[in-house]
Symmetry: C2
Subunit: 270 residues, 2 copies
């Protein structure tokens, strides 16, 4: 999917919501545990209930790997379901991968070809040759971690290198990499004041913003500093939507929460 | 496994060799492709042929993920085989994971509990709360990326933060984290001169050293600066051993290459 197609979907749905599919068997409704594949059944119900209000789904691979091979089956079924029934939706493998060149190529193959995601999150620590193999895939997107939403972000990311914070150095440097037009960036919502600085470096890129809701970020603050003329934001919410209820009505409650967020976004996009 | 048990295995085998099981179906002997699980058959043959000469095996998860669910089956069979038949061997999931706290817990569960590895490689970019969930597992080890062996290492890792390079900041800071005694570090062999600096910061930790052989690192240089009184090094070789031959004699050639490296190590340990 091209970023133009993503933008067009955003304008049509008046939403830039991404829903995180971080499925924890301890948190999903108990009645689903009897089904053959509770993780997929949960995702399917959430997707069917919320797809009108969001433009992207983001399974975090950790939650699937934790259930071993069965978890990978559920992940594969989820992405296949999305690609078959909702091909207009942008899909993000939140995998935070990255390794030396030939190994990153294997990861890119895994997520873009074998699983069929539109994008994957990648860690910048190992630099250029660990990221460029992902960028080589046309119409696929590499969402590079810049400034994350957790407390540990202050351990290294905001430390200054020659007067410039590491996360800014990551943004600047990544623009010089081959096929950098396929880059998007992860920027945590808990630090809305950073968005204006970030927009000076990457005015045109899409930013994937976790941390709205459960992690404390504020939608309006993020939009105030982060929006660009192509919208350029994907705001992620996971727990606030998918675990809005743990009873039989979980899909209905997820629908309501997603609709609520989309309504707020409609005021901004419209 | 405790690091004392690892040291004792090193002294017994007079080897601190780690063999990287980075299996690429395009590179393994063609006759294996007819078997039901070529990746596992290849690993099994390599392990059976080389286990006397090494103390650790390190599958890189990218190579397994690239083959989808079948790849995860092969990875699971490989680690199960190691744990059943060679329980004295230290196992490393070279996965380079790391995410916000609750998500890192899921990764730790995946690698330490579901798969049953002794250790996993972790990326420091997201800081303390992304690493501590891994450190919480007793007798399991978190091998933190400090200085990697690729060219991209110079993009950020060697950049100075307040006069101290990022990779040194990572080493220093990580020592303050909870259960930091469960930390080991990845330090690339292509930069042997850095080892004396690194040993000033982490004198007692095990260092996992990729990049000897195919990537150009030199065993003697690394040992000169990197050895400590507990040995404290795991030198990894992947392609140089496992692809020593792509013919029927691949296991025999891997045996010879592993033996050769062990002989060099015996001179150093003995």
């Amino acid at each position: 999917m091209t970023s133009q197609q993503l933008e067009s979907q955003i304008r049509q749905k008046k939403s830039f919501l991404c829903i995180g599919l971080d499925v924890d068997l301890d948190k999903i409704p108990k009645h689903l545990l009897q089904s053959e594949d509770p993780i997929f059944e949960f995702n399917k119900a959430i997707i069917d209930a919320t797809h009108h209000f969001c433009v992207a789904y983001k399974p975090n691979t950790a939650f699937y790997e934790a259930y071993g091979i069965q978890g990978w089956h559920s992940l594969k079924k989820t992405i296949d379901y999305l690609n078959e029934f909702y091909p207009e939706i942008f899909t993000i493998a939140d995998a935070k991968r990255g390794d030396i060149g030939n190994t990153s190529s294997m990861y890119a193959k895994a997520f873009f070809e074998d699983l069929g995601f539109d994008s994957v999150t990648v860690v910048p620590y190992m630099g250029k040759d660990s990221v460029e193999p992902f960028l080589a895939f046309p119409d696929k997107h590499t969402i590079l971690l810049a400034l994350t939403s957790n407390e540990g972000a202050f351990d290294f990311q905001t430390k200054k290198i020659n007067e410039i914070e590491l996360y800014k150095q990551v943004l600047e440097t990544s623009k010089t990499w081959k096929n950098s037009e396929n880059l998007m960036y992860v920027v945590g919502a808990t630090k809305a004041e950073y968005f204006s600085e970030i927009r000076k470096i990457v005015p045109d890129s899409f930013l994937l913003v976790p941390g709205v809701g459960a992690q404390g970020g504020n939608l309006y603050d993020v939009c105030k500093y982060g929006l660009n003329s192509q919208i350029g934001l994907l705001i992620n919410s996971s727990r606030g939507i998918i675990y809005a209820s743990s009873a039989m009505d979980f899909a209905k409650k997820a629908y309501e929460k997603a609709k609520e967020l989309q309504s707020e976004m409609e005021k901004i996009v419209g």
